[in-house]
Every structure is written in structure tokens, then in C-alpha cells.
Amino acid sequence: MELTEAIILSVLAASTPLLLAATGELVAERSGVLNLGVEGMMIVGAACAFGGAWLTGSIIIGALCGMFAGVLMSLLFAAMALGLAVNQVATGLALTIFGVGLSGLIGARFVGERITPAPHLHIPYVSDIPLIGHILFGEDGFVYLSLALVVAVWWFLYRMRAGLILRACGDNHVSAHALGYPVLKIRMYAVMFGGACAGLAGAYLPLAYTPFFIPGMTAGRGWIALALTVFASWLPGRLVIGAYLFGAVTILQLHAQGAGIGIPSQFMSSLPYLATVIVLVLLSRARTGGSTAPAALGTVFVPDR
């Protein structure tokens, strides 16, 4: 019972950064922008969030610092990919390379420091119900926030006019432009939202997951988040399933290592990465009838005047 509870709790914790980052990227991709810099925005977000929280002692200020850093990084991407019409793949790679270096530079003075991690919700009696009480009512704020964000994004994309316009930009930017919508501006906002989410996802790692900062602590989570948007066929609801599945793979391999099942730990550690490859192949294969990706994803748009 207690082990089950511990496993479920750690799966939720491991999934949350993936879900946050993937939700942001999903909005950006729905507007037609492929930002491969998620990993870079996340790691800079992590460094800034830890710095903010360590200096002020406030988790909320830390999280805001992370989001702000993510937005700044995403604006750099937007200036290049939207403003200068540079190839989005190359720009995203540049953002990641730059972000990894920058986070090391920012985070260097915080390595070895500790903070008090984000508190977990505690409702008297309710949170003490065996198993479900702790799981449903005893998480840290980020977990609830990430789920609320998915609902909000779904509502925005499918129930609001602005969401429809954003999706139109992602599916056919020429038509959206012809209808008079400011494609580049809309895409910029979408990219900024993606940056804020990636920054928040990065912030989760040193603020709640482990209470300290290590260089390179995102360890490819930004890339897995990118794969999750493909996994989810660009649908917010399926992101939740995908993120929790990947969180489960990460945690189960850790528990399997702990149980000493005789497989070298490195092979177990490589499972989330291998799972990503396999899932991408299986999904792409199942989708031979036509792609569900936004039709204009990753294409450069320069308005004709």
C-alpha cells in the first residue's frame, strides 16, 4: 500500500515538468511554430528559478523568475524565427546550445546550495485518507497548476475564437493572413506562452523535484516534451496520458534499479529515451492515413505586401 502510494506520488512528480513543457510547446506548434529550444528554455528557467527562490526564500518568486527567463529565451527565438524568418529547426538548436551554456553560467554560484522545496497541499483529514487522500489532495501546487493549465489550453483552443484563429495560423498561414489576422504577432504570443511554460517546467525541477540545482539537470526532458506533442497528436487531453506514461517509465525503472533485478542500471536509465523512439515510430506508423500535425508546422512565413 505504502509503496504503491510512493510510486504514484513520484510518477506524478516526474510527469509534471514534462506536462508543463509539452503544454506550452503544443500551443506554439498549434500556431505553426516548431520551437526545438524547449530544453534550453527549461534549463535556463531551472537556473533562474533556483536563484530567485534561493535569494528571496520564496518558491512563488522562484517560479516567476523561471517563467520570466523562459519568456525572454522564447523572445530570442521569436526574433530569429519570426522576425528574421530563419529556419526554425536551426534556431531551436541554437537556443538549446545557448541555454545549456547560459544556465551553467547563471547556476554556477548556486551549485551546492539547498532550499526548502515547494510545500505540499494538506487539508486536515481529507489528505489523510489512505492512498487517494494523499495522492489527490497532497500534491505540491505545480501538479494542480499543470492539470489546470491543460484544461485552460483545451478551452482556449477549442472553445474560444482566439484559439480558433491561433489554430488557423498553424494550419494555413497564408489564408489566415489573407483574412487579416496578424500571423506573426499571434505566433509570437504562442511562442512566448511556450517559453513561460518551459520556464515553469524547468523551475519545477529545482523548486519541487529536487531542492537543489545541478548543471544539466533537465537531462533531455525538454526533448521528451517535444516528442510528447507528437505522441498526443497535438491534442491537449492526450498530453496528460502521454506525460504520465513517460513519468511512469522513468519512475518504474528507478524502482526496478532499487529492487536489484540484475539488469545494469544504465540500461534501465536508457528506457525513457528508448521508449520515446519506439513510441514515435509506432505512432507515426499508425498514422499513415494522413498526418495530424498542424499543416504549416515549422514553415517560415514572410507576409506579402
Partner: protein, 363 residues
């Protein structure tokens, strides 16, 4: 007043030549600001970064040694990028080549095997790199899975494999429990060019690769097909070029070159297999490929320049206590500027007035 991009009627040749230089200039300006923010004297920092390594023979050799893997990998990557195939897992293919080649070195250790060992290692390294690169290529061609994500995921996998091997079955019994294989035998080592120097045979191989790349792209039909598929996919279809086959081919070449670079690095400058054999060569090579404008000669120059920043970065850490991460920031900024300047080859800026009437009239 508004700044807009306007497509040029044709590619600007002047900007094409000047763009890498403008990018380097802008990067140096940005770095000056960064050094000042870090509280370091920018003049002496730039001096340590770019001039000191050029001043003595030892660091000049070291630049060539660092440029060797960068150039080899970047030549392969440039073929991929020209064909619009996004191999970003060169780091993984580099490590896979290093692991596979090291297998022969470890197995023949102390057996008195002859001079066939090194050539066999290089061949196996290149082959393993090519096969490892073909995984994402096949996933792309056969199933339509994004080669960007799969090639990157495989970097983490082989990194863990290497870690397992040097901590487990291949660990040096006399190595005081350090995660490393024993030093390779002399027959399993890439010979140096000068007695007691650092420059090794691999650098010559890198030059051969540059020449081969130039011939392939400039003088052969395959090279032409690669460029057309990337630049004008529709024209390529009309021309009957097989885009899928070219993805497989460019990934295989790129993987082979990365794998070769990997085993050369291990059997040459490093001398044994251990974790951390690459300071991110596979990723830096992406910058080299773009800075060199996806042109073999350009890549050679760009490779030497980025190698200079590695050496300069190490110097700056030792003499001025500037963190090594500054080098990565530098490389990232450089890639940004290169891409931004490249955009000006195809587009130009124009200032337009954006008064409401004009804007409405334009729509």
C-alpha cells in the same frame, strides 16, 4: 514606421561572403559585454581567447587536434542539412564509433596482435557510426518518425552504454576503480605526426574528408541530387530523384564520419575509453556546419575557429578564472548571429510607414 523583411530578387553574393565575418564580429561585441558583466577585463579576456592560443606551437597543434573531430562531423552534417535531413544526433554516432572501435582495442589488449588492429578499429568505428545513424533515418523513411527527436534520443542511450562498459566489463583492473579502460596498446593507437607532438594522423584524414566532401558536392551527380532535394523538393521529384534514398545516404555518410571521428579521438588524443571523451563535439559541429555555410572549405575554416574557442576557453579558465560555460554561451550566440546574417542573404530590411490608411490599403 515599421521594419519589414523583403525577399531579394536573387541571393546576395556580397552578403553570402560577408555573413560569417559579420556574425563573428557581432559575437565578439556581445562577448565583450558579457565579460564586462562578469567583471573581467574584456580586452585581456578576448586576448586570452583568440590570440594566446595562436602564439605557441603546442596550442597550435592542440587547435588542429580539436578541429579534427569538429570538421569530420560537420562535413557529414552539412550533407544531411543540404538534403533537408536533420541529423542532430552526431554526438551519439561519435560515441558509438568510439565504443565499437574500442571493442577491438580492448579485446586485443596484450595479445601481441599485429598492425591490422588500428585500421580494423577505424573501419568498425565508421561502420558502427553509420549503422547507428541509420536507425533514425530508417524510422524517418519507413515510418515517418521525426528524425530530429529520434536521433537526439539515441545520444542519451549510447552515452549510458559507454558508461556501463567502462564501469563494468571493460574496466581496467589496474585502474584503481576509475571508470576507464586500460591505455590502448601502441598498435591500437593513432600515430602522431611529429615525435612527442600532439598532431596525429587523424588531422590528415580530416583534410581528406574535406577534399572528398568538396568533390562529392561540386563534381558528382549525387552531390547535385543532395542539393536539389534540399533546396527544391518539387523540382527534385520531377527530376526523379529519390528523396528517401538520399536521407538514408546522407545519414549513413554523416554517421560514418562521426563514428570515425569518435574512434580517432579515443585511439588518438585520449588513448583509452572513458566517459566524457567528447566536450560536445557532435553539437558544436552543428555550429561549425552552419558557420561554414554548409561548404566543405568553409567548414574547415569554421572548425579551426571553433577549436580556437575551445582552447581559448580552457586558457581563460586557467589564467582568468572565466567559467568554461562561457565557451558554450559564446558558441550559442555565434550560431544565432550566423543564422540571422544568413537570413539577410535571402531577405533585406525595408522601413515602411505603417500609418493606418496604408496598412488597410495593403490588405
Amino acid at each position: 514606421m515599421q521594419l519589414i523583411l523583403e525577399k531579394r530578387a536573387e541571393r546576395s553574393k556580397t552578403v553570402a561572403l560577408a555573413s560569417p565575418l559579420i556574425a563573428i564580429g557581432l559575437t565578439i561585441v556581445t562577448m565583450t559585454i558579457l565579460f564586462m558583466v562578469l567583471g573581467k577585463n574584456p580586452i585581456s579576456a578576448l586576448y586570452v581567447y583568440f590570440i594566446v592560443p595562436l602564439a605557441d606551437g603546442y596550442s597550435l597543434q592542440e587547435i588542429a587536434v580539436k578541429a579534427t573531430p569538429l570538421v569530420m562531423i560537420a562535413i557529414g552534417l552539412s550533407l544531411c542539412y543540404l538534403a533537408n535531413a536533420w541529423n542532430i544526433g552526431a554526438e551519439g554516432q561519435f560515441l558509438m564509433g568510439a565504443v565499437a572501435g574500442s571493442w577491438i582495442a580492448v579485446k586485443t589488449q596484450g595479445t601481441g596482435a599485429g598492425h591490422w588492429v588500428l585500421p580494423a578499429m577505424l573501419l568498425l568505428g565508421a561502420l558502427a557510426g553509420a549503422l547507428y545513424a541509420l536507425i533514425p533515418a530508417i524510422c524517418k523513411v519507413r515510418f515517418g518518425a521525426s528524425e530530429i527527436l529520434t536521433s537526439l534520443m539515441l545520444v542519451y542511450v549510447v552515452d549510458l552504454l559507454l558508461d556501463y562498459l567502462v564501469r563494468g566489463p571493460w574496466r581496467d583492473p589496474q585502474g584503481f576503480n576509475f571508470p576507464t579502460t586500460a591505455e590502448f596498446d601502441p598498435v591500437a593507437t593513432v600515430p602522431t605526426l611529429i615525435e612527442g607532438g600532439r598532431l596525429h594522423l587523424g588531422s590528415i584524414l580530416a583534410l581528406v574528408v574535406v577534399a572528398a566532401g568538396a568533390v562529392l558536392l561540386g563534381k558528382t551527380i549525387k552531390g547535385f541530387e543532395i542539393r536539389v532535394v534540399g533546396a527544391a523538393p518539387r523540382a527534385a521529384r520531377f527530376g526523379g530523384f529519390n528523396a528517401n534514398q538520399l536521407i538514408l545516404l546522407t545519414f549513413a555518410i554523416s554517421g560514418a564520419l562521426s563514428g570515425l571521428a569518435g574512434i580517432i579521438e579515443v585511439a588518438g588524443p585520449v588513448g583509452h575509453l572513458q566517459p566524457g571523451i567528447s566536450p560536445g563535439y557532435g553539437f558544436t559541429a552543428i555550429i561549425v556546419a552552419f558557420l561554414g555555410r554548409l561548404n566543405p572549405i568553409g567548414i574547415l575554416i569554421a572548425g579551426l575557429f571553433l577549436a580556437l574557442t575551445f582552447i581559448g576557453g580552457e586558457q581563460a579558465q586557467i589564467t582568468m578564472k572565466i567559467p568554461l560555460d562561457v565557451t558554450k554561451v559564446f558558441q550559442g550566440i555565434l550560431l544565432f548571429y550566423v543564422l540571422a546574417c544568413d537570413s539577410l542573404i535571402l531577405y533585406r530590411f525595408r522601413i515602411v510607414s505603417s500609418s493606418p490608411q496604408v496598412a488597410r490599403g495593403a490588405h
